[in-house]
């Protein structure tokens, strides 16, 4: 028997609440009052005992943030973000633990419930767990450490490897890049610092898990991944938060640098609760013969605006962006990607899929740019949208700029509805309607889920199935 739409929605919330939507009591060492000013920024820097240059970097970024107007493009929901109603820094533990026993008991219980320590034992090369503003647990496998792989929270990265950080930090995304990057640069805390030495292949993924607990919290992690020539690393991140009636803000900055012949794969499964504004800047540089892949799955949040980008700076560099967005009731997923071909014979693919249901809005926003001199560049952009009902919305904003003649660029876009004929075909083979609908959706996103690590693919399929519960009313 088909479940009604309302029952299905109730089921989704009930499950999120139970699996991710819970929150802990607040036993914090420090919680900044709401709002942002010079004093808060100085306090964060002081807490972290940072070098003077970083303190100055933060204060300059704050000026940029305050001077810039809120963007007016993207989504009307952006007007709901109230920067004065946010806690910009919350400290839950003294310093990141190397053992789960060092993590405060209630925080550890949260990560237990989310299954992180278990996953670490089974299939990860390293784990970072961030709770509110800072990383509470960090560990990397000993054999990798011996090979010179650095996987630290960004605060420790700056403390222990200041020279490497200073050389690369904010070179891919300067603080004045946009208003949200300026905000992150002013108040950044936590995130990961990954450094892979020349020729080292990290075979199992490194994982970071980001958790917001407090109401009206702002989480501003900062991640920098440097892959030296010929190295390989796969970094996976996941995020969840409790469901509150008021808004939280997540605004990360992620910079990837793939040196000649290196390969970086960065996978995100974003499942924030629907009171979180997720406004993130992610950008990568790929030098000669390097490859950068973004696998970006957006399921949660009230509004996500995120366009991972790759600058193909060296000859034969390759960029790949796989993006899935699932927009349910009250959600707007404004996702996509940008590839900029700067050097000759560079190649890229952007493959974006969005699914909208229950009045949700999925947008693809992308840029493909081929600069003068990037002869022999090849690129393919495919964006497909699937609408599950008549109240939902899909938009596509593709921009293509080509300044070179000898290139090969393809662009395809489709918008489809789960068709009566597809459903009828499957149902005529004895498959119930809701099963048939799930099969169609799974088939639609399969090209991307197959790129995820197996455990994530399973989780992704489960989440999609959950969102799909009873969507045929």
């Amino acid at each position: 028997m088909a479940v009604t739409e309302n029952e299905a929605l109730a089921a989704i919330n009930a499950d999120y609440e139970q699996r991710y939507g819970f929150h802990d009591a607040e036993n914090y060492l420090y919680k900044a009052p709401k709002g942002l000013n010079r004093e808060i920024v100085e306090k964060i820097s002081e807490f972290k005992s940072e070098p003077q240059w970083m303190r100055e970097f933060r204060l300059k970024a704050l000026d940029h943030f305050l001077a810039r107007p809120q963007p007016t493009w993207g989504s009307p929901l952006l007007a709901e973000v109230d920067y004065d109603d946010i806690h910009y820094f919350v400290r839950a533990s003294e310093k990141p633990g190397r053992s789960w026993d060092d993590v405060p008991e209630d925080v550890k219980r949260t990560f237990d419930r989310l299954g992180i320590p278990e996953a670490e034992r089974k299939f990860l090369a390293g784990v970072g767990a961030q709770y509110e503003s800072e990383v509470v647990y960090h560990q990397v496998r000993e054999d990798l450490e011996k090979q010179g792989v650095i996987f630290l929270d960004m605060d420790s990265g700056l403390r222990e490897h200041e020279d490497i950080v200073r050389e690369h930090f904010a070179t891919v995304i300067p603080p004045n890049d946009n208003k949200l990057a300026a905000l992150n640069s002013a108040v950044w805390s936590g995130g990961s610092f990954v450094y892979v030495p020349e020729g080292v292949h990290v075979e199992m993924p490194l994982q970071a898990y980001f958790r917001i607990n407090t109401e009206n919290m702002g989480q501003f992690e900062r991640t920098l991944i440097i892959a030296e020539p010929g190295s390989y690393v796969h970094y996976v991140e996941g995020c969840t938060a409790p469901t509150y009636s008021s808004n939280s803000l997540h605004s990360a900055v992620v910079e990837l640098i793939a040196k000649p012949g290196a390969r970086i794969r960065y996978t995100t499964v974003q499942n924030w609760s629907t009171n979180v504004f997720n406004l993130v800047t992610k950008r990568a540089v790929a030098h000669e013969d390097a490859t950068v892949e973004w696998v970006d799955c957006n399921l949660g949040s009230r509004l996500t605006m995120k366009y991972p980008s790759v600058y193909l700076m060296g000859e034969r560099a390759h960029g790949e962006i796989l993006s899935i967005a699932f927009a349910g009731k009250g959600q707007h997923q404004d996702a996509g990607g940008k590839i900029i071909h700067v050097a000759p014979n560079t190649t890229s693919n952007i493959f974006a899929k969005s699914i909208s249901k229950d009045g949700g809005r999925g947008s693809y926003r992308g840029l493909l740019e081929i600069a003068k001199g990037a002869h022999g560049a090849r690129s393919k952009v495919v964006c497909d949208a699937l609408l599950l009902d008549e109240h939902s919305r899909s938009d596509t904003y593709p921009t293509i700029r080509i300044s070179e003649d000898d290139v090969n660029v393809g662009h395809e876009a489709t918008v489809s509805k789960v068709g009566e004929d597809q459903l009828f075909y499957l149902m005529s083979h004895g498959i119930p309607e809701d099963e048939a609908s799930k099969l169609i959706v799974n088939g639609f996103i399969e090209p991307i889920t197959k790129e995820l690590p197996m455990e994530y693919a399973v989780e992704m399929n489960r989440l999609i199935e959950l969102q799909m519960e009873g969507s045929i009313g």
Binding site: H64, T171, V172, I173, P174, P175, N176, N178, M313, I340
Partner: protein
Amino acid sequence: MAEIIDVCPVAELPPGERRLVEWEDLEIGVFNCGGNLYAIEDRCSHDDGPLAEGEFDPEHCTVECPRHGSLFDLRTGKPKTLPAYVPVDTFAVIIEDETIKLEVE
């Protein structure tokens, strides 16, 4: 065809200072980095906005685009950070008769 234009007397552009000059439809920023003079086109290669009025760091010989933060090396015109990736035009600086001059074309 190259042409030589006057900027100002040397004494008027001490170390750490900059000056904007116009020639036909070009705007050029001239910078004094610790006694060495450099000139770049006043147009960011990222989105064509004005560049020379950005934060000038004479010690590292850079200027930061005020619009999106790309940092340019004044000696070469090359961007040291994204989002710009194309160098901006540079101009040869000549000192003659205690006057700073530029070679433009």
